[in-house]
């Protein structure tokens, strides 16, 4: 190494290609290999509990065409979509305010957004389960204000799941939004106003398109993990909703049916790839900008 270095600054420009090997190894072993295993199991045949024959059996995937399972995918996507919109509705104004109006305490506020994120999602979610109890703290507040009579019927409902999802994933929405809003060239917005645009049209035609990469990144970062969410529907939803995560976990831990669980996961992965491909296509020429933010 030292000898090579001594040759001068040239070596710094033309790095040997093998230096990338650790990154490739990481991607192959830790990213691709588990996926290969999922694919292999999805097409495997099972007898008894653990007698697995690998091959090209399609029974597991065919079984997924049953409306029972299709409904799980549909409802999970809808719920994750609603959760994503919820994060966006709270995250965008907050990120906008943070990126344009706040100057003195910006770092502190950003830190406050991150701090809950340092805590395990399990603990944060369990905390919400305590807050939302029929006669818990939230009930106390609402009851004290005279807003409700009976006990709070939130825990175990899809509304409780939505609250938990938005809370847990909000930071993932705020950060990419903040980055693109903060980078926004304010002069473009001013120009739009100068050229006769009102506030709304200036926002719609300059701010929104220019921050679109952050918006889409945020939506993807939030939507994708939400579809696989396990903790929130289990703790806040009473474990009874049509959620993909808990049901696929059941296939492994309750049904001891690895091939079917793998097939369920594989279809979700493919469906998400389609969603991402769709986003990229819609974005078209913005793909480059998107990459820059990603």
């Amino acid at each position: 190494m030292r000898a090579r270095r001594a040759r001068g600054p040239r070596s710094a420009v033309a790095e040997p290609g093998w230096l990338i090997a650790p990154a490739w190894l990481y991607h192959t072993v830790l990213l691709a290999a588990p996926l290969v295993i999922v694919v292999a199991y999805a097409f495997a045949d099972r007898e008894g509990f653990f007698t697995i024959t690998f091959g090209l059996y399609t029974e597991n995937l065919e079984r997924l065409w049953d409306p029972v399972y299709l409904r799980i995918y549909r409802d999970t996507f809808i719920a994750a979509g609603v959760g994503t919109v919820g994060c966006l509705l709270i995250g965008y104004p907050f990120a906008y305010w943070l990126g344009t109006r706040v100057h003195r305490h910006r770092t502190l506020l950003l830190l406050l957004v991150i701090v809950p994120f340092w805590t395990s999602i399990l603990i944060r979610t369990y905390a919400w389960a305590l807050l939302l109890r029929p006669r818990g703290p939230l009930y106390g507040v609402l009851h004290g204000l005279g807003l409700i009579d009976g006990p709070l019927n939130l825990l175990g409902s899809s509304r409780a799941v939505l609250i938990g999802l938005v809370y847990d994933y909000l930071p993932l929405m705020v950060f990419p939004l903040y980055v693109s809003i903060e980078r926004l060239d304010r002069r473009v917005v001013e120009a739009a106003r100068d050229l006769g645009g009102n506030r709304w049209s200036a926002f719609r035609r300059t701010t929104l398109p220019l921050t679109m990469p952050g918006l889409i990144t945020g939506c993807l970062l939030v939507f994708i993990p939400m579809t696989g969410e396990y903790v929130v529907p289990t703790f806040l939803g009473g474990g009874k909703g049509r959620w993909f995560g808990p049901i696929v976990a059941d296939q492994f831990l309750e049904a001891l049916n690895y091939p079917f669980g793998a097939a369920m996961s594989l279809v979700l992965v493919v469906a998400l790839l389609l969603v991402i491909a769709g986003y990229l296509k819609v974005m078209g020429s913005r793909a480059g900008e998107l990459e820059a933010v990603l």
């Binding site: 109890r133 009473g238 049509r242 049901i247 001891l256």
Partner: protein, 377 residues
């Protein structure tokens, strides 16, 4: 009675998060009576019986939460000078999946009968050396040689219980005695119901309501049970094996499908709680102590099994877990209020109607498929 128990046993009790909830202080007080120096409990039979010095210095337990009296473990630790660790699982299926997946480092596990059968077939269990477990002679013969492990090569009975439902008499006007009551009152007490997060027990409730076997392999019967469950699903507050005790204690749940011993934890906060062994019949299960094939300290594990199979130590366990012991004479060392409770030690005529999970893969697949339909309904 022997016939019923001969069917082939079953599923558990389990409290994942409940590990943090300590049982009533009064119960702990009751426990303290029999914490004797343990090494002397076991009659030393001489031939091949190991001395305490001969066992490894470590014992790693993998168990249901709140399912081993800390006093028992502590006494064993002291008597044998071993270090112990304890981890928890929430269902037999989880235990099987973990061991099958290669989880190592555990010396002692507590699977239910049918899980013993599955794991033994998979080569996941260590073959016990009966010479090291002379206290096997303390076990009531009814609980030995059960179909899941006919020669007890892989397991020793830990305790046993039933799956039924509990309800709070303060809130529920009717007297509930059957699965029929359980299903038909769900609408009236909508939002106050919970069921276990476990397919055999819950689908089994629907099956038993119609007089079918817990282990049916008839898809039509499973369909009927699932349809009943789907019908009451809108009234269920939570599908959980770990939270219903707390929900009942707070009065947030009034009717819960669960394991008999669990409802005793509710008693302190809700004195009106009543456990029902439904008249149509239900499941009974025998949980065991087993040693994984990957155990690094199997001698210590077998020594523990032997040590815990004394009436004194079993009595202490029942005082803590509220589950019936399989050891003869354990009742005499159990808090009389617990030992005489028919929901823990049911009447023999009730026992005749009980049935155990037989571990049949076909039945499990049918229930799993129905379970997904129930959950996604």
């Amino acid at each position: 009675m022997t016939d019923a128990l001969g069917a082939s046993p079953l599923s558990r009790r389990g409290f994942l998060k409940a590990a943090v909830v300590l049982p009533a202080a009064g119960v702990l007080a009751a426990c303290s009576a029999d914490v004797g120096p343990p090494a002397t409990d076991a009659p030393d039979t001489g031939s091949g019986s190991p001395s305490p010095a001969a066992i490894e210095d470590q014992l790693n337990v993998y168990n249901w939460a709140a399912y081993l009296n800390p006093a028992t473990l502590k006494a064993f630790t002291k008597a044998y000078d071993v270090e112990t660790t304890i981890d928890f699982y929430a269902s037999n299926e989880e235990l099987i999946a973990k061991l099958q997946g290669g989880a190592a480092g555990y010396d002692l596990v507590a699977p239910t009968g049918y899980a013993v059968q599955i794991m033994a077939d998979e080569g996941l269990l260590y073959e016990l050396d009966h010479a090291r477990i002379p206290n096997m002679s303390n076990v009531d013969p009814r609980f030995l040689g059960l179909p899941f492990d006919p020669e007890n090569r892989y397991s020793m009975p830990k305790d046993w219980g039933t799956t039924g439902f509990g309800y709070l008499q303060d809130f529920v006007e009717e007297e509930m005695t059957t699965w029929e009551d359980f299903f038909s009152l769900a609408e009236k007490y909508s939002g106050k119901y919970t069921v276990l997060d476990s397919s055999p027990e819950v689908i089994g409730a629907g099956l038993k309501r119609h007089g079918y076997s817990y282990n049916t392999t008839n898809p039509d019967e499973v369909d009927e049970a699932v349809a009943d469950l789907v019908a009451i699903k809108p009234h269920i507050a939570a599908i959980t094996s770990s939270e219903y005790r707390q929900m009942m204690s707070r009065g947030d749940a009034w009717v819960a499908l669960g394991w008999n011993g669990d409802f005793f934890y509710v008693l302190e906060d809700q004195p009106s709680v009543r456990y029902v062994i439904p008249e149509e019949g239900t499941e009974y299960w025998v949980d065991t102590w087993s040693v994984p094939a990957t155990a690094e300290h199997p001698i210590a594990a077998m020594e523990f099994i032997n040590w815990v199979l004394t009436p004194e130590n079993q009595g202490r366990e029942t005082n803590y877990t509220y589950y019936a012991s399989a050891v003869t004479g354990a009742q005499e060392h159990t808090d009389p209020a617990i030992a005489s409770d028919p929901s823990i030690y049911p009447d023999p005529t009730v026992i005749d109607k009980l049935e155990a999970n037989d571990g049949n893969p076909e039945a499990l697949d049918l229930r799993s498929e129905g379970w997904t339909r129930f959950k996604s309904a």
